[in-house]
């Protein structure tokens, strides 16, 4: 049946969600650099300007600070803006507006004002995007009270999570991965929203749990296939959202397997993987059969050179080796 096997690109699924939500709710509008007639650097807004026009799909000058500030103000006034930063690295210019304003206004207004703002950006490397277009610092936003952080890692998830993000009444950091954009996958037709705080068990297993974020989910699944041949049964969990984080799924998994490997493309030191490891040690200590281990990027800016880049980042091969070490620990 065509519906059951409907395969579209990750970026198309995102656009589908945007289009459907903009049709449903006229207060939703979309701004960013190059997202108007051009349809976005990665075609992440393709067709929206054609359908909704200048009023609701608007190109901005090169000023992340200005466009985000505009989004915050519009949201406070009752609109539902989506601000496209395109490259997560570029959000630095807008940090003040996000942290001091968007995340905090609901609290400092004693609940009277809301900021239903979606900030969309793509993180990670895809073939030498270099030190200014590759960062994965989503954990910084998780550390700020008042922000939600979403990391969709599949075609089906990006559409459902985008809808939830737009419908959410608070600021949401919607962080996709550049690598995913042109990859195809199954996407259901029609309206469906995936709630935040619900992890996805991508693969069930009994020997070891891998918690992986964003693109690392795909590498973990690849590693799991290799390990299965040696009788090592890997359970792969994609949290989907970092804030809110689904503790229960992770803890239940670790209680079952006794071993946890956390895989993140972000630098390992002071990244989210530390938080997940502490959580498990605190709440599932007596079920651990080995220390919790983490794989992350080496602590350096992203190299431009592809050989160095491969050396810096986790990969399916490195995950396989780490799991083998964990089984022997």
């Amino acid at each position: 049946m065509a519906a059951a096997s409907r395969q579209i690109q990750y970026v198309e699924a995102g656009v589908e969600a945007l289009r459907e939500e903009m049709r449903l709710d006229s207060s939703v509008f979309y701004i960013g650099q190059g997202i108007g007639a051009r349809g976005g650097n990665y075609k992440q807004s393709k067709g929206l300007w054609d359908e909704f026009g200048e009023l609701r799909v608007r190109d901005t000058p090169i000023s992340e600070l200005g466009q985000t500030g505009l989004g915050v103000g519009a949201a406070m006034a009752g609109m539902r803006p989506i601000v496209d930063i395109v490259f997560l690295d570029m959000v630095m210019e807008a940090m003040g507006q996000i942290v001091e304003q968007a995340a905090t206004i609901h609290y400092t207004s004693n609940g009277r004002l809301r900021v239903p703002l979606v900030i969309r950006a793509a993180m990670g490397t895809v073939r030498c995007t270099g030190p200014h277009h590759s960062r994965c610092f989503y954990s910084w936003f998780a550390h700020i009270p008042g922000l939600k952080v979403v990391l969709p890692a599949s075609v089906e998830d990006v559409k459902g999570l985008m809808k939830t993000a737009i419908r959410d009444d608070g600021p949401v950091m919607f962080i996709e991965h550049k690598f995913f954009y042109n990859k195809r996958g199954y996407c259901p037709e029609g309206d469906y929203a995936i709630p935040f705080g619900q992890a996805r068990i991508c693969r069930e297993g009994k020997s070891v749990t891998i918690l992986a974020m964003s693109l690392m989910v795909w590498h973990a699944m690849e590693a799991a296939e290799v390990l299965a041949k040696d009788g090592i049964d890997v359970e792969v969990i994609d949290p989907r959202t970092i804030v809110p984080f689904d503790e229960e799924t992770l803890l239940n998994s670790v209680k079952k397997t006794g071993r946890l490997l956390i895989v993140d493309e972000a630098q390992r030191f002071c990244g989210f993987s530390g938080e997940a490891a502490a959580l498990v040690t605190e709440k599932a200590f007596d079920y651990l059969d080995a220390p919790v281990r983490r794989l992350g990027a080496i602590h350096t800016p992203h190299p431009f050179n592809p050989i160095l880049e491969a050396e810096m980042l986790p990969s399916a091969e490195k995950i396989v080796a780490a799991v083998r070490a964990l089984m022997a620990a």
Partner: protein
């Protein structure tokens, strides 16, 4: 400076205790006040805190063993290597057992090997003498009462993991093992068995049976449910009325609140009413004190708090002390009446069956009334038939005229 760790007396009637689980290994440091061993006594499990800051330098009593109160079960020292030899002997066997046990354990470690790595090599890398065990393996070992000093670890640094404990258990179960493992001693059942056998064989008991008209009781309880719920957020039960009735009856008939002390009657110095409550794996009898002076709502709240402790396994020895008599209610299980066994040194126990509509004669006609059958078991050394009957009559009057419980 070496100190001994002894089996503590955790309740007034405790004479012996069982070591359940050592929370520290030999050579580990411990702070004063930190839990060091878990013991079981009289159906209750408790954590024992270390009396000193230092190192646990010897374990003299293994998990699963039962010893009298005040027996030396371990040694603590300010340095990790001081042994117990400098302590005054606890008895000739204690010190000898230490050296024998440590030699055996060491011998076992050298003899058993796994996957080519001998444990003496693996142990050498941890020079404090600690046995490295993953938390998961420790949990499994506790569940199956495995002595971890006998298990070979196959993890890094010789760490014992779950698979190592399970492999050890499998090896124990194979015919190659010298002796089949004994079924684990169930100390709780032993305590119950001892106590009840003692009661039935040494206390001359007789029984008085009376059917009580519960019409008034049912009506009053229904009437008071909301008020009690509003006042204390608990549900008023028939047990609460029964405890109150027992307490008031005891106050009116102090002869019942005595016990036979071998050759004379002695007045009880407490006023507790115990009531049987089912915990997750054992029957316990928490005690309510001063019930005669408590309002029904306060009594219900106290009772509910104790039941909660029983069900969550938190009832302590202090919660079970000082009962003068016991209430046992099997009404919820459809029992009409039964004869309970006295809990020495108490003088009586009241067994209560279900409240059910029964055909009774009332003023010459056959009517249907809710009734409840009470059976009072009495220690004949404390009270004779007439005394017992009067006591039961007193209780019955309170229950048939329950407003008098509120006065």
């Amino acid at each position: 400076m070496v100190h001994e760790l002894v089996m503590p007396q955790l309740g007034m009637t405790m004479t012996e205790g069982t070591v359940l689980r050592w929370l520290k290994a030999v050579g580990e440091s411990v702070e004063k006040g930190e839990p060091i061993v878990e013991v079981q006594t009289d159906k209750v499990d408790m954590e024992v805190e270390s009396p000193f800051t230092g190192y646990l330098t010897a374990i003299l009593v293994q998990e699963g063993a039962t010893v009298p109160v005040a027996t030396r079960i371990g040694c603590l020292s300010t340095t990790p290597d001081a042994d117990c030899a400098s302590l005054a002997p606890d008895g000739p066997s204690a010190v000898d057992d230490v050296s024998v046990q440590q030699t055996d354990a060491a011998a076992d470690r050298l003899v058993s090997t796994d996957n080519g790595a001998t444990t003496s090599e693996a142990k050498a890398s941890d020079n404090t003498g600690r046995v490295l065990v993953s938390p998961r393996a420790r949990r499994v070992a506790h569940e199956f009462r495995v002595d971890l000093t006998l298990v070979t670890g196959s993890g890094e640094f010789g760490r014992i993991r779950e698979v190592d404990v399970r492999r050890y258990l499998e090896d124990c179960a194979t015919p190659a093992a010298q002796t089949p493992p004994e079924p684990a001693r169930d100390n709780i059942r032993k305590v119950i068995a001892d106590r009840l056998t003692h009661s039935v064989t040494t206390v001359p008991q007789f029984w008085l049976d009376r059917e009580v008209d519960a019409t008034g009781l049912v009506a009053l309880r229904t009437k008071l449910l909301n008020a009690v719920a509003a006042s204390r957020s608990v549900r008023l039960t028939y047990t609460d009325f029964l405890i109150k009735a027992l307490a008031l009856a005891l106050r009116e008939m102090p002869a019942m609140a005595k016990r036979w002390d071998g050759d004379r009657l002695v007045a009880a110095d407490t006023d507790g009413i115990g009531f049987a409550a089912q915990g997750p794996d054992r029957l316990l009898v928490p005690v309510v004190h001063g019930a005669d002076a408590l309002s029904l709502a306060a009594l219900a709240a106290t009772r509910a708090g104790l039941v909660d402790k029983v069900q969550s396994g938190r009832l302590g020895p202090a919660d079970m002390e000082g009962a003068v008599c016991t209430l046992s209610n099997l009404g919820a299980f459809g029992v009409d009446a039964f004869q309970a066994i006295i809990n020495p040194p108490q003088s009586c126990i009241l067994a209560v069956g279900r409240i059910a509509d029964r055909a009774v004669v009332h003023e010459g006609s056959l009517v249907i009334r809710p009734t409840m059958r009470l059976v009072l078991t009495v220690d004949h050394r404390v009270v004779d038939g007439v005394g017992g009957a009067q006591f039961l009559s007193c209780i019955a009057n309170y229950l048939e005229n329950p407003e008098t419980l509120l006065v």
